[in-house]
Symmetry: C2
Subunit: 268 residues, 2 copies
């Protein structure tokens, strides 16, 4: 599939790009459906905010939108923005020119059951480190996710849930976590670790519209286990309800189904 | 200067290399002097240990040595080993083929005063996160170092010292830290954060030979400030004594000078 590097079709980046040397950059993953880049204003706003967190110049929205339009109409699009090529050493040159990579991959073919009856989820042993300067940002330093994903090979397990050092629930390796109980929708506070995804923001907005009380706060594993419904979200999977996790089984729930539909049907 | 990618002269890596996508890899920086790759057995052992920490296949020592020999006789050599190209997602394919990048840059021209009378050092505001699974490893997730290095632009400042969340001294942005007081050489324990460099190991070995009592333990900022000598080390700078840091000035000391000489003159 096509890859554009700074707007030019290519599969190659300079070996001295700081994205490779230091993970010095950020990224976005989004779906293109029928030629539309889903939730583009939110995706761009998040990219710009993440670039700002690293003091990285964010490419222009129109430029990126035009490059996304060159990808297949139905695909998973990925945008990477790095600090660009650099000399040896951590210091950033004043004239650093960001590299932008816009690339496509095939839409994944997850089993239909994942959306209908939910997924089996692993409780990861790795604990996420606390770094408020990077928390929430979807940056290229993703070794924790890689190590966590290495913890299982069982193809029937769709995702792993990560805790922080204190044992609070933070996120999935590739998703955000919500749980529902007694009229309240909870999702972990991500001010010390984790990635605050665009679908998480959308769910928070939709939940308020639905009249649910929304709680963004530390979430203990015990609280998660007592929830009526637990769900995972990201821009590719939409919403998956958790069916099996940490010794408990949940049946399909209406809140997960409702949020899944809203995420899919709307684009705001 | 020359770069070899998997043994072939090239400046380009695939845009889907997991080194770029996730910082999924490790690296080494070492000096070549008169055609000799300095401390190569130790450098290779550390590379192999770091690869093992990420469950990454380490390239053969003889292969890497032969590639280093193609670099200029006097240069800074860098070896990067990544997980190689991969499909979208954190899961590692069983047939993942590591990418090795061997590259050279010019020996830096630090002022001679840095070695003779010492350096001025900044106390970084950023606190290092605690992640025992990655601590000690020189991996490609280096955003903390990048953010810390952004804290100063003053060209008279040669390095920044980083603390952990608890306020203990851990390392410099590009170096390890030692301090000397009353016959004892202290260096921070790096089991929760920091990079355990090859020169740090050598200094620990040489210090024992010199009959110094060596303490590898948590090191408070207060203890550092009370030291008779504070020094920084890495494979490019050797040993720099700290002259000015956090409001205190130190005069040149014999322990720093001795360790600097041993590091430079010996190759074990």
């Amino acid at each position: 599939m096509i890859t554009l590097i700074n707007g030019t079709p290519s599969d190659l980046v300079p070996a001295n790009d700081r994205g490779l040397l230091y993970g010095d950059g950020v990224f976005r993953t989004l779906k293109r459906v029928g030629g539309v880049s889903r939730c583009w204003p939110r995706q761009y706003a998040k990219l710009a905010a993440d670039c700002a967190a690293l003091n990285l110049r964010c490419p222009d929205a129109a430029l990126l939108a035009a490059e996304l339009a060159q990808l297949p109409p139905d695909c998973v699009a990925k945008i990477i923005v790095t600090r660009g090529p650099g000399a040896r050493g951590y210091a950033v040159a004043v004239d650093a020119m960001p590299t932008r990579i816009v690339t496509a991959s095939a839409l994944p073919d997850y089993p239909a059951s994942y959306s209908i009856s939910g997924v089996k989820v692993h409780l990861c042993h790795l604990r996420l480190a606390s770094q408020p300067r990077l928390a929430g940002v979807k940056h290229l330093n993703r070794l924790e996710n890689v190590l966590a994903r290495m913890e299982w090979n069982d193809a029937s397990i769709a995702e792993g849930i990560l805790l922080d050092e204190a044992g609070s629930v933070i996120e999935g390796t590739m998703s955000n976590v919500f749980c529902y109980r007694a009229g309240r929708l909870h999702t972990p506070d991500l001010s010390n670790c984790g990635v605050a995804g665009v679908q998480r923001d959308r769910i928070l907005a939709f939940a308020e519209e639905l009249g649910l009380t929304v709680m963004v706060a530390p979430l203990s594993l015990d609280a998660l286990m007592m929830a009526e419904e637990v769900m995972l979200c990201n821009s590719v999977i939409g919403v998956w309800q958790v069916r099996e996790f940490n010794g408990r089984v949940w049946h399909s729930g209406a809140i997960s189904a409702c949020l899944r539909s809203l995420l899919e049907e709307r684009d705001d």
